[in-house]
Symmetry: C2
Subunit: 168 residues, 2 copies
């Protein structure tokens, strides 16, 4: 990320997703962080990331796509006041605070959409960067699912359920 | 349930679901146990209960539908070895052990389908009958989601995440 060009977060278009697809494909092929199928097509991934969720955003500098996140209710009916989000950052933009920027943005969007809390259902316990980041942003571990994730190097590892009540 | 007619658990047909619909409708209208929309049509409910899941079963005595459950992976890709099930019992059949029978049946089906564990994502904490039943069948509370469910009488109540490793 350049410091001279402003990062903008706007609704993600099909074109933005196509630009981001190489990163998305690497993330799902690595099978280390997301509980997604590794062999999804671009169309299946677009459906999952941009059509099923309530809203999907992209972080860009000019035309350069740096990252994306979605937001959706984590449950229906009497449980639809808690949202769920997923975030991905391009390799070039990692380690520069973009996940933090997107997460804070998503919390504001969540409140505007009427959500009272945010829940992550499957944070892979070996993904220490993510766990520490979410904790630094106020998310608490409210559950631990034993052996929930088949890690390619580490075998069956636990997943964490994390939660943050949102300031209204 | 009569003791003289055997209870059979078989794959649920569209006709079975239509027969069960009055119970299903009461359960979702009560808004006390399931995080489902209360205003679903029969077709939407059929899609949710019988088409999205991997398999759906019905418990019957002759042509009388007593209860039903679905089974599906609780996550995709590297998380698809843990399943999720949902159970419903008709009013006439409650308090007679049918949920236990269906749950034990579902555990066998789960193992046959290759699942290693079963997870419930949203057991409403005030649904003490369910919580005690699952605990008696070996499920542990592995997480508690604060204020996850809008109960019509009790306001915002917690939901529990429950988990059982399955004997292979």
């Amino acid at each position: 990320m350049s410091n001279t060009v402003e990062t903008q977060i706007v609704k993600m278009s099909r074109k933005d997703f196509e630009d981001f697809w190489p990163t998305f494909e690497k993330v799902i092929n690595a099978q280390k962080t997301y509980a997604f199928e590794s062999n999804m097509t671009l169309q299946q991934a677009f459906h999952l990331w941009c059509e099923i969720p309530q809203q999907t955003y992209v972080a860009k500098q000019g035309e350069l796509v740096l990252g994306t996140y979605y937001i959706k209710p984590n449950a229906a009916g009497p449980g639809d006041h808690i949202c769920n989000c997923g975030y991905m950052v391009s390799e070039a933009a990692r380690g520069k605070g973009l996940a933090t920027i997107m997460c804070k943005h998503s919390q504001k969007v969540a409140v505007n959409l009427g959500f009272r809390a945010m829940q992550f259902n499957s944070v892979v316990s070996t993904n220490e960067v993510a766990v520490k980041l979410w904790q630094s942003l106020g998310y608490q571990v409210i559950g631990r699912i034993p052996e929930a994730y088949r890690h390619p190097d580490k075998g069956l590892v636990d997943s964490l359920i994390m939660y943050k009540k949102l300031d209204q």
